[in-house]
Symmetry: C2
């Protein structure tokens, strides 16, 4: 075999890094945050399950969809740590992502419509243009600007 732990059931952090494309430091960071777990070798080095490759990959996909690590952690909580997740496990968790995608697409679609209207009618009117309506924004609590409106 080419590399050491090739035939082994567990993999060292460097291999996990190469297989997922994330930096070793990031994996350690994820572990610290509780998104993955590891065993230790005799010499105190981390050993991961091969299934953690998918676990990490899932993190990356979820991040692309805009989930924060804390939310991802919550999602991953339903996955077993210590044994390889079943197809069913993944199917369920993936369906959450699917919903997220659908939501995002709906939102984008709405924004696009409004934008088109706005360009089309040339209104740019703050009273009429929904695109420029701060009302929408008061609701969401993501990162970004915090709304600071007085009651009236």
């Amino acid at each position: 075999m080419t590399t050491k732990t090739e035939g082994d059931r567990t993999i060292p952090i460097g291999m996990l890094a190469r297989r997922t494309g994330v930096a070793v430091s990031a994996i350690r960071f994820y572990e610290e945050k509780g998104l993955v777990r590891s065993f230790r070798s005799a010499g105190n080095q981390r050993r991961f399950l091969r299934s953690d490759i998918r676990r990490i990959s899932f993190i990356l996909i979820a991040q692309k969809l805009g989930l924060e690590l804390k939310e991802i952690e919550r999602e991953l909580a339903s996955l077993p740590q210590g044994r390889t997740p079943t197809v069913k496990d993944w199917a369920q968790i993936s369906s959450h992502l699917r919903a997220r995608i659908d939501d995002q697409m709906a939102l984008l679609s709405q924004t696009r419509e409004r934008l088109d209207q706005c360009i089309g009618c040339g209104c740019l009117s703050l009273t009429k243009c929904q695109l420029f309506n701060p009302g929408d924004r008061a609701a969401d609590q993501g990162p970004g600007p915090h709304v600071d409106l007085e009651p009236a």
Copy 2:
């Protein structure tokens, strides 16, 4: 009229904040970053154009679409500062946003397809599953994990 500068052509920072829903501190921050400009009153207080309400609103919309302030600044650079932008000005800049939206939707759509396939076939195979393919990720240079792949 209810408030002071009500009939004035320029508005103070607090009003701009209320009208857009962003914090006063954020507006000062945007000015520092060059996204808006202001005049000064006799007493050294900032005065903004009413059209800056739309300018700020545009920033918010663009942010929602995932643009960073630097990119937004670039977009806004095509808008005049010191005079109210024309409908044409806005139409052009908005069309860039539209393209951005389209791109994002295409990406989401692709991700959804792959996800569906992945759930459908239950493959979870790293060799076959495009969803879990780090290859895609090496390209994008957004925020998030930096790829750390060796040549081979």
